[in-house]
Structures are given as C-alpha cells and as structure tokens.
C-alpha cells in the first residue's frame, strides 16, 4: 500500500503539468474586442496580431487588447491614428531638414513612411530585431523599402556598434529610438553606454528622439540618463496618450524655448503640409521639465527597468502646465500655443477640445511657461 502511494506522486505531478499546459493552450483563443484578427504569427519575440477594426488596421504584440504598436487607417493611410507618430516628428523643430535618418524599431513602419513622404531625398536606415516584422509592415501597413530606405534585421545596439566600426563612421542627423512594446523593455537600449554610442553616430546638428511612456518612474530614469549623456534633454509630453518624446541633440543644437518651438512649428506646418498639426506638437514641449531628484541614471551595470516601469512617478509630468495672469486679476492654467509681441494664444486646461483663447498683451500681467516667466521678459 505504502509503495503504491509513493508511486502515485510522479503521476500526480505529471497530471498537474498537463492541466497547466491545457489551461495555457485554451487561453490562446482571443476575444476580438479590438477588431477581427486577420493575421497572426508567433515570431521569435512576440505573438504578432494584425487586427482590422472598421477601416483601421492595428499591429499588436501579445494578447493585451488596446495596446498597439502601430495603427493605420486604410481609408486614409496618411492619417496619424496614434499621437506618438506625430510627436516623434518633434525633432524637426530642432533640425528641419534631415538628410540621414536612423530609426531603431520598425513596427508597422509609419515613421519611416512619414519621413520618406516629406523628405524624399533623405537616406533612411531602420534597425528591426524581429525578422517577421518587415514583411508584415509591407503587406499590411503600406510600408515600402526603396534604394534610400533600408531595413536591417538587427538589434539596435549591435547595429549602432557595427556602424561605429565603419570607416568613416556614418553620421545621422535624425535618430528615432522606438524599440519597445508593452512587455518587451530592452534595457540595453536605455543605458548611458548605449546613448554614448548613439552620440557617436550623431552629427553635430543632429537630433535624437526617444519614444517613452511617461506614466512611471522609468521615464524619470530615462530623462536623467539623457541629461547625463547629452547635457540637456527636452520633453514633448503627449496630451491624449501616455507617450512622451525625449529630445537631445548634437553640440550645435540649442534647446528651444516654448515660443521658439511654436515659431518653428508654425513654419514647418506651412512648409510641409503634414497630415497632423505641427503647431500642436510644438505646444507639447515642456521646456523646464527635469528628472525627479531620486531618478537613477541607467547603466549597463544597473538598469532596473522592469522594476521602475511598475512604479508610479514620484512627480507626475502630466501635472505641469502654463499660467497666464490677466490684469483683471484672473489666473488661467493650460498651455500657451503662441506668444507674440502683440498677443498670447492660450489653450485652457480641461478644455483641450475647444477653441483657444486669445488675449492682447495689454490685458496680460504675466505669462509663465513651464514654470518660467516668459512675459514680461526678465531683464
């Protein structure tokens, strides 16, 4: 009897494993809350889904509904469905005519497509780690390679390391870092050592734009790391999404004031006829934003990215805003859209969907943008 029960244990353990396996497999059937699955494939890195929801087509990694790498409106392919693809163009405010572009992370290929459309002469290199992604971007999302737009299937860091071993080292004037998804957080593309390598392939008038999520402590660590490597870093904070762009640049480029960003945004807006409003992107600049004091600089030796990602920010970025005080004593919070010699155009906080307010400067006592008084100019 004793002997029998002893033999039952391995059997029981096996049964538990089989049940666990069965539960995992049956979980594979998806509820189509965010559209119909028109393609799916298990790549080396993700379970890739392509979903169709009305005229909008999404690229999703993994099962979590509502979190997309890319979405394209098949009826209006140039429309920016997600805010981050607009925000990523913020580097143009610093360098309006990129000739050589490097993008780390392809996804559905929206960013290279937009840059190709507006800068037909630019040389564009894209590094994408997952060999299954480029064909999907081409077939489902209208991405096309051409002789000056090439995709390299390679890890972003190894790709840049190998660039630096070329002679002469190629220099890019627009670098976009966009290689993360919900669960896949490549720590080695966030560290000080990596950014030093990026700096090594950046031209003196070049700009680096990194797409990040702003709603956790990792964002502060990333900002602190950018400050550490580039000396300065500015943030474009998404309004309708949790995305934010970190911008740093080569030695010849200066950080922008909010007013200057708006000027450049205005100019780019008329120059390029983008499918989005570049002036709105410029408005997202938060010039004075600094990392929280306790934010660690990420290094190859210590990069607790998953840990930081799960923690709420110490001092949430989204709380920053501009202030206009009028001579009648009223105080308004929101965002300055335009500050000229004659007037201030102001978007009120909580009324982003409505028309902006315009006040002649004669009515205005002070204008504070991101905690810094812009009017009257400090002497």
């Amino acid at each position: 009897m004793r002997k029998r029960s002893g033999k039952a244990w391995p059997g029981a353990a096996l049964a538990v494993m089989l049940i666990a396996g069965a539960v995992t497999v049956s979980g594979g059937r998806t509820a189509a809350r965010d559209g119909t699955v028109i393609f799916q494939r298990n790549s080396l890195y993700h379970h890739i889904y392509v979903l169709q929801q009305g005229t909008v087509r999404h690229l999703r990694f993994g099962r979590q509904a509502g979190i997309y790498q890319t979405s394209v409106d098949t009826a209006r392919p140039h429309r920016h469905v997600h805010e981050y693809t607009e925000l990523a163009m913020c580097g143009l405010l610093y360098n309006p005519s990129p000739r050589r572009v490097l993008i780390i992370g392809l996804g559905g290929g929206v960013m290279p497509r937009v840059l190709r459309r507006h800068f037909p002469q630019a040389e564009i290199d894209v590094a994408e780690i997952d060999p299954d992604i480029p064909p999907i971007a081409e077939y489902y999302f209208g991405f096309r390679e051409d002789e000056r737009l090439r995709v390299h299937v390679n890890d972003g860091r190894t790709f840049i390391r190998r660039l630096r071993r070329q002679d002469p080292v190629p220099r890019y004037d627009y670098i976009v870092l966009d290689a993360f998804s919900g669960d896949y957080i490549p720590f080695h593309l966030m560290t000080r050592e990596f950014l030093e390598e990026v700096k090594g392939v950046l031209s003196d008038d070049g700009v680096v734009v990194a797409n990040i999520f702003s709603n956790n402590r990792l964002a502060d660590a990333q900002l602190a790391t950018f400050f550490n490597v580039f000396g300065w870093c500015q943030v474009f904070l998404g309004g309708r999404s949790a995305n934010a762009m970190l911008v740093s640049a080569g030695s010849e480029v200066e950080p922008l004031t909010a007013a200057r960003a708006l000027q450049h945004g205005e100019w780019l807006h008329w120059e390029h006829d983008f499918a989005f409003d570049m002036r709105v992107v410029a408005r997202r600049l938060r010039p004075g934003l600094r990392p929280a004091r306790n934010a660690p600089v990420l290094t190859d030796d210590r990069a607790p990215v998953h840990h930081l990602r799960r923690q709420p920010p110490t001092d949430p970025w989204a709380e920053t805003h501009d202030v206009v005080e009028l001579r009648d004593g009223t105080r308004h919070e929101g965002w300055v859209l335009q500050l000229t010699q004659q007037q201030v155009i102001f978007q009120l906080k909580g009324q982003e969907g409505e028309a902006a307010r315009t006040w002649p400067l004669g009515q205005v006592r002070t204008v504070t943008i991101e905690g810094r008084q812009e009017f009257p100019a400090a002497q």
């Binding site: 080396l44 890195y45 780690i129 390679n154 890890d155 860091r157 190894t158 390391r161 190998r162 071993r165 490549p186 720590f187 080695h188 560290t191 050592e193 990596f194 190859d300 030796d301 210590r302 607790p304 998953h306 840990h307």
Partner: protein, 220 residues
C-alpha cells in the same frame, strides 16, 4: 564489525549537512551567473534570444559537463577537498574580476569581425567557461564524499542532484525577479567573495583533518 557499522551509518550528519550546503551554494551560483551572463553580453551582441541566451545556455551546459567529468575524477583523489577548495577560490576570484574582462574581450571579438552568433558564443566561453567548469566539479565530488558504500551511491546521487537543482531554481528566480534590479558588477563581486570564503573553508578543513587522517592510515 566496526567497519561494517560506519558503512551503513555513513558520513556524520553534520558533515553531510555541510556538504549539502556547499552543493546548494554552488547550484544557486550556477544559475545566477547564467542569467547575469546573458545580461552582461546583451549590450555587445544584442538581445536576440536565440543568440545571446542560446550561447550562454550552450556554454554553461558544456562547461558543466566538463566540470562533472573532472569532479568525478577528483572524488577518488585523497586531496579532493583541498583541490575542490582551491578550484572554488579560483572561480570566486574569476567572478570578482569578470566585470573588468567583459569590455576588452567583447570589443576585441567585434573588432575581429565576429558575427553576433559566434562572437557571443566565444565571449560566453571565454568569460564563463572556466568558473563554470569549477562549479560543475562540486556535485560529483560531493556524491563521492557522501558515499561510503556502493549501496548508498544511488540515493546520495539523487540527494545531491535534487538539492543542487532546487538551489539552482531558487537562484534563477531570485536573480530574475530581484537581483537584476541591483548592480550586476556588485552581485558578481559578492558572489565571488562567497565562493572564495567557501573554497578557503574547504581547503582549511582538509589541512586541519590531514594529520588525523595520516595517523589513521598509518594505524591500518
């Protein structure tokens, strides 16, 4: 008659526990080093799972197999405790120095034009091969120490492999869930120091027991 009795009772309990503790610490460190190893190589050879992780796992298995063979040979030597102790000290020193070896080696491999695949494989071999051979020697040697009669060899082998693997499991989970938040270099330094102390204890214990054993052998 007296000899018969020692054969059935085997090694004293305290010694058995000591041996198992050594096995557990080394089992833990094998997997901890494996996960940290993949982390260390990622900045150089990328995060392609099949490249970095594959190279590291492959090299670890190969090194362990060499270590098992050497450990089996060692278990029959009279000075096995001294030799294993020295090997663990060497492995500990290696782990302490490891963070300083990574950049020069990996840069040289990349300069020499190695692909990510071969580069990571060679780097893993160069960086982790030696300490892993030494850690692999522990289990078979421990089985040898625990086993005083042929009858006990199976259960002892089972005991050592099981405890070592449970320790490896713990090392994997704790490293992946917690230790990766800390400095990789510091974790390696602390682990190296633990190994150095452990190895020194083994070597000293051998030296302390040596005169007694010599007398015992003379008496026979």
């Amino acid at each position: 008659m007296a000899e018969q009795e020692t054969a059935t009772t085997g090694v004293p309990l305290l010694n058995r526990l000591g041996i198992i503790a050594v096995v557990c610490i080394c089992g833990w460190l094998v997997m901890q080093t494996e996960i940290l190893g993949a982390r260390i190589l990622t900045p150089y050879f990328g995060s392609a799972i099949y490249v970095t992780m594959g190279s590291v796992i492959g090299v670890f298995l190969l090194s362990l197999s060499v270590g098992y063979m050497l450990g089996g040979w060692l278990s029959r030597r009279r000075a096995s405790m001294l030799l294993l102790g020295l090997a663990l000290v060497a492995a500990g020193v290696w782990l302490v120095l490891l963070p300083f070896m990574v950049e020069p080696l990996c840069d040289r491999l990349l300069d020499a034009g190695f692909s990510d695949e071969w580069g990571s494989l060679v780097a893993a071999l160069g960086l982790f091969g030696a300490p892993l051979v030494m850690l692999g020697m522990v289990s078979p040697t421990a089985v040898g120490w625990l086993t005083t009669s042929a009858e006990r060899s199976g259960p002892n082998a089972g005991l050592v492999m099981s405890t070592s693997t449970v320790a490896s499991f713990s090392g994997t989970i704790v490293t992946a869930f917690y230790l990766l938040r800390l400095s990789v270099g510091r974790t390696l330094r602390v682990s190296g120091l633990v190994l150095i102390v452990l190895g020194a204890v083994l070597a000293l214990r051998w030296a302390w027991a040596a005169p007694g054993r010599a007398a015992e052998e003379e008496g026979e």
